[in-house]
Symmetry: C3
Subunit: 348 residues, 3 copies
């Protein structure tokens, strides 16, 4: 998709300084190397020096912008460059999505569709995808190549499942969800009963996983089925890559969890929480709504109060941790002070 | 599979209070929302209030249970509700497994079976599975769709390999193992020889991986082949999801490792250890039998004594860490006390 | 591939003590259980006792070696056993690689090759591989079964992509790269704009991923595409298993990163860095060339000075951390000393 600078100016409401017929075909960042046909924007004055170096074809700037040096790219003057770029980004990604959606319709061969599968309208099933018995695929569902969908699984309208995701049987996935490549949903939880001879016996894992609407699951993230009942991810919640969600966990609405975090069995996470990367949460805990958990924190107890911010392993209040950690760094000095005090005490 | 309450009462030795012909088709937990046809149990008095709210169809309770309010579900009176439920769970999962095993027999097409593959009795090979040259599959082996089995791999009887697991060539897998979706076994270890110009040269990784009997490997866990020799997981050991096991690691018998733990090259873990989630173990270490390593611990040295419990990064004795950490949290107070003592000292 | 001891002696320049016609077909380590046909070496005197126990068929030893007990295996006397073994290892892996390369040529069926794909010479495409539209595959590229290559992706000569790796559209991969099973490259970054009602809206992820030459990517590692622009891994860099690389990250040349580390969005890692396992690096940071980051460290700020070594979470200078941590372990003693000083002060 190519556009002229003038077409873009019309879209975002701006004035072209330079050749209005110049062709643009990609969006770029002003502080990164860019190729021909790129447009970027300058909003933050801290980035001004980049406009004198960029190889972008055009830059969106404020109409009040006064250059201090010669500028190579064409300019597009607007009231607010950030908002203008957002409008452009939105329009561009809409076009990309529409082109992509149009492309990805139909059923590629060979794929495997078992008996009793219900297919909605305008779906895509990629080559080598496997759809088990009695699955229900809503309208506009996109199933990329190498995806495995176990028997009796339901997938709501507009949900996209990328290549190689593995959904075990009986899973329920809502509408407008995105599941990235390699994610595993519904595998058997880690449940073993210790025997007298030191061996372990598998505890049957008979439950399932439910993802509500508008849930995103990152690449290679794993979500275990419940031992009994349901492992539940509520609507609007977003999981990054390589996250572990154990059996019977419940995660509330609109909670975001960064990469490589892990949540142990039967813990309940509230709504609108923000959980950092590599966080570990022990089992059978309750984490209050709007909790903020700093990266690498280890949560060993309940978080009872809404909006609590914690860090550390084991974690406690963020500010208190930071104060304690500042002194931790000075412990050798503290040790010396105490040694001196002790010595003088002895002298007395 | 549906059962009447009376059939269940006969199985677990109980008495029905309510309609004995009521149909039951799923097991549930008393403290979770449940659908029609569910049976759950009440053993712990702390959960009593849930029996007055549950929408389950029936609840297994002690014959001594005296309700304090009206109860909607039918009741099934037994001597010990927990044991009774365990019996029911066992019977149910046996039925589910048998139904599943019956269902998953035979070879789905298209799949790829190279020359020289030996197939046992009653095996299942899912569509799009790839079995390399000269592999040996024991009786009752189940290979789900999209599984990759490299050349010359041996898989013992009753082992199940779920969708999309990737087994590199020459791997040996014992009997009654379960390998979950997306696990990678036998990939090249992380071995690179630094060159004078700052680049790295790959060190050939010529060894293999052996899993003994009754080993479970979680979803998206990775186990590297040995540089030379064998990366070995001994019998009865259970690995959770997203674990990293590097080249030449040896893990003893009946050891359980929680999700996202990582073990560096050539370390040897003993028998009957319990290793928490997100634990990191450095390379070339010996970890004694029955070691217990707390979640997120970092192990930088050998653990020599059997049954040691450690935590922290770097890890040390659990109780000592907890005592030190309690004072860490109070460091700002300590700092103030020392400041005051120092100031008064100066005055003297 | 079998060799006689004499053939090996000729290759590495040594003398056989024992039957020179004995057949050897595998390399082994002297301190591990070995099977018939194995050869290992003894260089470090600390390992001498293993030579009296090993079941290997032959051992490479120094010509100056004087046994203290009876020895079962044949011996191969050389000037320097370590160097001799390295020569043998190199030759052996060369043979294995050549045999492997020869074997893996051609296109297995069924696979899916979309329109407009350019194929170099001597390539391998495994069964069930999916190659999207207009992809370019260089000479000698090896694509294993179940690999997904999205539209418009370029893969340089001699690159190997193992089973089940998932490469999203528009990715650029250089020459001589190795991508292990289950790795995901180009998935959508974790970008969501919070809305006033507490929900999150997906931010379009329009950029791509570029891997330069000689890059290795471990099993189940995930690398997100840029929001705009490029997520870039420069030449010679080696990533272990289960690593997370977020959108717009740049990693310099010849940097090695151990398993389960995670790098947040837009951070820039320098050349020749060494990053330990389970390290977490926050977003928008600059990490100087030759930085060394210890396992499990948490990096919350820039590392400005070349060659800095850090550890801890949050991380700081390695030696300072270790000094502080030594005192952390003794905090209960410190506490007692302060308590005593305070008590005596009160008495005064």
């Amino acid at each position: 998709m190519q556009f002229t600078l003038q077409q873009i100016a019309d879209l975002i409401g701006g004035t072209v300084i330079g050749d209005a017929t110049t062709k643009i075909w990609q969006l770029a960042k002003i502080d990164e190397p860019t190729a021909e046909g790129s447009i970027c924007f300058l909003a933050n004055p801290k980035y001004e020096n980049f406009i004198y170096q960029t190889t972008a074809t055009a830059v969106i700037v404020s109409k009040d912008f006064v250059p201090k040096q010669a500028i190579t790219p064409s300019l597009l003057l607007v009231d607010n460059p950030y908002i203008a770029f957002t409008v452009l980004l939105e329009a561009y990604s809409q076009l990309v999505a529409e082109a992509g959606q149009k492309r990805k319709i139909g059923i590629e061969q060979p794929c495997y569709i078992a008996e009793g599968v219900q297919q909605g309208e305008a779906i895509y099933i990629g080559a080598f995808a496997y759809i088990g018995k009695n699955c229900v695929l809503g309208d506009n569902v996109k199933i990329y190549p190498h995806t495995f969908i176990g028997d009796n699984t339901q997938i709501g309208a507009n949900t996209i499942i990328y290549s190689g995701a593995k959904i075990y049987e009986n899973t329920e996935i809502g509408q407008n969800c995105t599941i990235h490549a390699g994610a595993v949903i519904g595998s058997e939880g880690f449940g073993f009963a210790p025997q007298e001879d030191g061996t372990y016996k598998d505890i049957p894992q008979l439950g399932k996983v439910i993802l509500e609407n508008n849930v995103n699951i990152g690449a290679n993230t794993t979500i275990d089925r419940a031992t009994m009942g349901t492992t539940l991810i509520q609507s609007g919640t977003k999981l990054d890559n390589l996250i572990q969600v154990a059996h019977n966990v419940v995660i509330g609405k609109n909670t975001v969890i960064a990469a490589q975090a892990g949540i142990s069995g039967s813990s309940k996470i509230g709504d609108n929480c923000m959980i950092g990367g590599q966080v570990g949460i022990a089992g059978h805990l309750d984490i209050a709504d709007q909790s903020k958990i700093g990266a690498q924190a280890g949560i060993g107890g309940n978080i009872k109060e809404k909006g609590t911010t914690v860090i550390g392993s084991p974690a406690f209040n963020f500010r208190d941790f930071m104060k304690a950690y500042t002194i931790f760094r000075k412990l050798p000095t503290l040790q010396k002070q105490i040694d001196r005090l002790m010595k003088e005490k002895e002298k007395e």
